[in-house]
């Protein structure tokens, strides 16, 4: 009886501790602001067909290059003006968030899976596995990332899939290096020695003991990586290597805006502002998560 009550009690506190970190995170102002913005952006991306005032592809040459309200020659109904083909800039920016967020989530998840698998392997097995993986990371990092991503997408062919693959193939090194160092760090901790002494299998120690302690660092890193992925996607669509030109993207709009700079600055300003805010939000979220999830920094 008493014994049962005791175990139950520890279980409850363990569960509470396991979910505590969510509360800690949300209480952090950086996480709240950055995460809040990203959440809003996700909702906007999902609801784009419902909230966009126009079809993003609908052309109206008669209404080409009309400025936003408040400037001479503005047209009602086009809140951020129109581009040279008369397409509504606001609707295009809203739809552009879909590609940006898809790439951000998919690419960083993929990079995190590849990088942390190799990082865990290198940090846990050490020896030749570590040597081989570390050399690979070094050679990988000697390439200029922007050039490499352009190269990869150019040879594989444009498209959201190639962009996601290219970012993951380039940026897994970020995860690998951090996870490797953190795994090594954790593997020498007393609780791991204890788990070994108890006779747990290596796979179980790695996944049940070490990984949960590496996870906070990983989560913060993923958030930072999403900011990078959004930028890389914008760069690739700026160069014209992302999705086909009939899908609106921020980078594609920025390229169009750069061309039509003197006729309509708003075509550049609108996607650039949103890109800037998104990158700042992901950074804020990542910084906040790193601080909130790190027990040392929290104290």
């Amino acid at each position: 009886m008493v014994e049962g009550a005791l175990t139950q009690r520890t279980d409850v506190s363990a569960t509470r501790r396991r979910w505590d970190w969510i509360g800690v995170c949300v209480a952090d102002p950086k996480v709240a602001v950055g995460g809040g913005f990203i959440l809003c952006l996700c909702l906007v991306a999902l609801a784009a067909p419902l909230i966009a005032p126009h079809d993003p592809l609908e052309q109206d040459i008669m209404l080409g290059l009309t400025p936003p309200p408040g400037f001479a020659g503005a047209e009602p109904g086009h809140w951020l003006g129109t581009d040279d083909l008369g397409r509504d800039v606001l609707s295009r920016v809203l739809y552009g968030s879909r590609v940006a967020l898809t790439v951000a989530f998919a690419a960083s998840a993929l990079a995190a899976v590849i990088g942390s698998t190799l990082g865990l392997a290198a940090g846990w097995r050490r020896g030749w596995v570590d040597a081989a993986i570390s050399r690979l990371v070094e050679i990988w990092m000697a390439f200029p990332p922007v050039l490499l991503s352009i190269l990869l997408v150019a040879v594989v062919g444009p498209g959201v899939g190639s962009v996601i693959a290219a970012i993951a193939i380039i940026d897994w090194t970020r995860f690998c290096r951090v996870v490797r160092a953190e795994t090594m760090n954790q593997a020498s901790a007393d609780y791991v020695t204890a788990a070994r002494a108890v006779g747990f299998a290596p796979g179980r120690i790695l996944m049940r003991e070490i990984f949960p302690n590496v996870a906070p660092v990983l989560i913060a890193l993923i958030s930072l990586e999403m900011g990078i992925a959004v930028i890389v996607e914008a760069i690739l669509s700026f160069v014209g290597l992302s999705v086909s030109s009939d899908t609106p993207t921020w980078g594609g709009m920025i390229a169009e805006g750069r061309q039509a700079l003197h006729e309509g600055w708003w075509i550049l300003a609108a996607p650039l502002t949103l890109l800037l805010l998104t990158v700042l939000a992901f950074n804020l979220l990542g910084e906040g998560l790193r601080r909130a999830l790190d027990p040392v920094m929290r104290r």
């Binding site: 050679i139 000697a142 040879v155 760069i235 550049l268 300003a269």
Partner: protein, 324 residues
């Protein structure tokens, strides 16, 4: 070590370009070309041989200093590199100097003002600068100085209407050394925006590191001794602390500088600046294999040179390493 990395980069790029689909010949033939014409063209560029043989030919020519001929531009790759690389070197060099000056002055101000209300403001602004990459800076600058306050030229390296008789491809240095003031100021005007776009993120990284190491240095005994001798705070920072704090900051800047070189690719594109980055994007879009290979090697070599230069600078800045 450097040679191994460079070889690795060369082999990797060679294999990558050849195992992936995409035919450079297909992009250069006219629609009416006969299969015989295509085969002749393929043989002309050595693309009909097996991958092993292609690699041997490429490596042998490379060691002789022959980088091949660009498929899309029909010019020697080495010639193109010699023409475009100096433009990138000047841009990257200028960005590095600006970042160093900005980073050091902001850090010194931050340490001098560490007790005042300015310090948290500097931290916040620096955090913002850390998060914004060169791509966004470049476009923000385009918007600011191209549209709202149109005072700077938006593209190119030099005004095409100016008399440009240069004997070297280093326009900035040459115009400075030969004292051609009008040319020099025009080149500078063209370089301000791309330089700032590259320098601002680097300056932010430098500031973050240098500020911390300066703060640590300021509480050391030798600074205390200098203070007892009656030196002003500004002198303490500049003459005592900075000298010791600069080495770790420099070491880190080296790593960041390689990112800066990578950043030249997209920044040159935005400003239509005629460097190797802009050339590289065109080469990739046109599947110009010899040019891509030459450019990748140039980038790789640049990375390695920067790392060696930074190592030397760190040694020069740290007396303990110099004598040991």
């Amino acid at each position: 070590m450097a040679a191994i990395t460079l070889t690795g980069v060369g082999v990797a790029i060679f294999v990558l370009l050849r195992v992936v689909p995409g035919d450079p010949i297909a992009m250069m033939i006219s629609p009416g070309a006969s299969p015989a014409d295509i085969a002749a063209l393929r043989a002309h560029y050595g693309l009909d041989a097996g991958i092993g043989q292609q690699f041997v030919v490429w490596a042998r020519d490379l060691l002789r200093g022959d980088f091949g001929v660009s498929i899309s531009l029909h010019r020697s790759v080495l010639e193109l590199l010699a023409e475009r690389l100096p433009a990138t070197l000047e841009l990257a060099g200028a960005a590095f100097v600006v970042a160093l000056l900005l980073g050091v002055s902001v850090s010194v101000v931050a340490v001098l003002a560490s007790d005042s209300k300015v310090a948290p403001l500097i931290d916040t602004v620096n955090g913002l600068f850390l998060a914004v990459p060169d791509f966004i800076w470049a476009l923000l600058l385009v918007l600011t100085f191209g549209v709202f306050a149109p005072v700077l030229p938006l593209s190119g390296r030099i005004d095409p209407s100016l008399d440009t008789h240069f004997t070297t491809p280093f326009y900035l240095l040459e115009s400075l050394l030969t004292l051609r003031v009008a040319l020099f100021s025009d080149i500078c005007k063209h370089m301000i925006m791309p330089t700032l776009a590259l320098a601002l993120p680097l300056a932010a990284v430098l500031t973050r590191v240098l500020k911390e190491s300066l703060r640590e240095a300021m509480v050391q005994d030798y600074v205390l001794l200098a203070r007892l001798k009656g030196k002003s705070r500004l002198r303490l920072v500049l003459q005592e602390a900075l000298r010791n704090a600069i080495a770790p900051a420099l070491a880190l800047t080296g790593v960041q500088f390689t990112f800066l070189i990578g950043g030249t690719v997209i920044v040159e594109r935005i400003f239509s600046y005629p460097g190797i980055g802009n050339l590289a994007i065109d080469a990739v879009i046109n599947r110009d294999l010899p040019l891509i290979q030459g450019l990748t090697l140039a980038f790789g070599a640049l990375f390695i040179l920067v790392n060696i230069a930074v190592d030397l600078l760190v040694v020069a800045a740290n007396p303990r390493l110099r004598h040991g």
